[in-house]
Amino acid sequence: MGRITLDKVTKRFGDVEVIPPLDLEINDGEFVVFVGPSGCGKSTLLRLIAGLEDVTAGEITIDGTAASDLPPAKRGLAMVFQSYALYPHMSVRKNIAFPMKMAGMPQDEQNRRIEAAATALNLTDYLDRRPGQLSGGQRQRVAIGRAIVREPSAFLFDEPLSNLDAALRHGMRLEISELHKRLDTTMIYVTHDQVEAMTMADKIVVLQAGVIEQIGSPLDLYRAPCNLFVAGFIGSPTMNLLTGQEASKRNAHTVGIRPEHVDISTTEGAWKGKVGVAEHLGSDTFLHIHAEGLSLETLTVRVGGEYAVKRGDTVWLTPQEENIHKFDANGLRIE
């Protein structure tokens, strides 16, 4: 079980309100990602759930038990830190055993679980090494091993992949998703990387300045961002946002169109523009186009595959009307 409810949870550091009263419900077995720019309060929120910070007001309930005043150890949660936070003076085996030792688990049960975790995480050959002798990816796996042996009711991940290089990050992302499928345990994952959020989450919680901007499945957020912030945050490259004539023509204050929803032609279209920077990735081509008569100086366009244009070429763009997002003067979505 791992059902976590936040009821008007508030956090203040001195006079600064980092998290204004916030409600959130996390269902058992869900993979929830907190995403937002740095300083948005996502890590603080995770630490409040973990019990590493005290709530200023409000109540956190874990599996029906009021947990706001419980110490971290009593909440039945396990956490994986960005810096791995392994015990440098202990072998991998002792690191993984530590939470079980603290719980006073019988030795043979400890050994059984260590072996199981080591097999699952490919750590069998490294059990007697110290964390200092392992690579970044292996350290992160030890941290995960230390978390799973406790069989917690939920896992908390605090930007666990930010210290890894790109290739390793991709591999670990798959491993964590795989782990979630296998264990079927609630996972709360904090990241500033929207790719991680989109690929792993069942439910994404977009935060800004301690406030939840939108909650939804990755594709919900992609298809129907509820405001300008979410529209700009989810999706890569980011959505093109236009004001002025193009917006008022469609009865909106701002309209947004994703780079992949603009059709491009060298002969005809709605908007004329000149190619600026062209990023050729092979699988995709990202074109930054200086369009005439638009409120946005550079429009980003994504074309599948290779597209042979170069800097200074004239192109024509046509937005796909059915994929245009409309927002009012307050930045809220108009349906």
């Binding site: 019990g51 590493l52 110490p71 971290p72 150890a73 960005q82 936070a85 939470p99 603290m102 230390r146």
Partner: protein, 276 residues
Amino acid sequence: MARAVTTQRKALNTALAWGIGLMIFFPILWTILTSFKSEAQAIANPPIFLGFDWTLENYGVVMERSNYARFLINSVIIAGGSTILGILVAVPAAWSMAFVPSKRTKDILLWMLSTKMLPAVGVLYPIYLLCIQLGVLDNRLALVVILMLINLPIIVWMLYTYFREIPGEILEAARMDGASLKSEILYVLTPMAIPGIASTLLLNFILAWNEAFWTLNLTSVDAAPLTAFIASYSSPEGLFFAKLSAASTMAIAPILILGWFSQKQLVRGLTFGAVK
């Protein structure tokens, strides 16, 4: 060319370092040399550096006249006891200052250190009276406590500096893993801080061993450590420099040997943070 200059400069630096080192060590060397001279050669003018008649006579006299072992045991008890007690008090204090600091932590640290700036003699009278009132004058346990309190600011400061180098996330991980405060300090913090704790232990043992003001003023016979042993050869014996030197050499020998074997640890401890 540039390389030659660097080599020259290195040689110069080395020579300078040796010069300063010898200058600092010279009084100790002179004391040791004097302890092997006869009383007449000890006060000879001009002084004799090495060309004297080496004798162990002074040591014989000192051993015969005083109970060296008793002073030594008292020194070990007082220096060791106050250091261990100090560490026991300082580890939790430094833990709270390093990992759960409050607005006043910095002030408290400075205030603690400021007590070291006060001349000790300023509080001699009240402490002396307190010892009389409590009936603990010339008492080893009382000295253990007093020396512990006197060195506590330094112990806390040193440990605080070491603990600050330990990432807080590791302690948070321990908390998440179900460790109580006691387990956190015992199984995670202390093992990680062992090098720092060891240097702190060593330095404070040396400080307490050498402490002369309180040990001389608050002891007479029962609790008198080696500092009192040296002192007993200075005032009543007047100008008997050779015997005084022999007593001094015997008093500093244990700590000198300890320092010699642990110098790596000591230097590492004292420069901790500066090199990182």
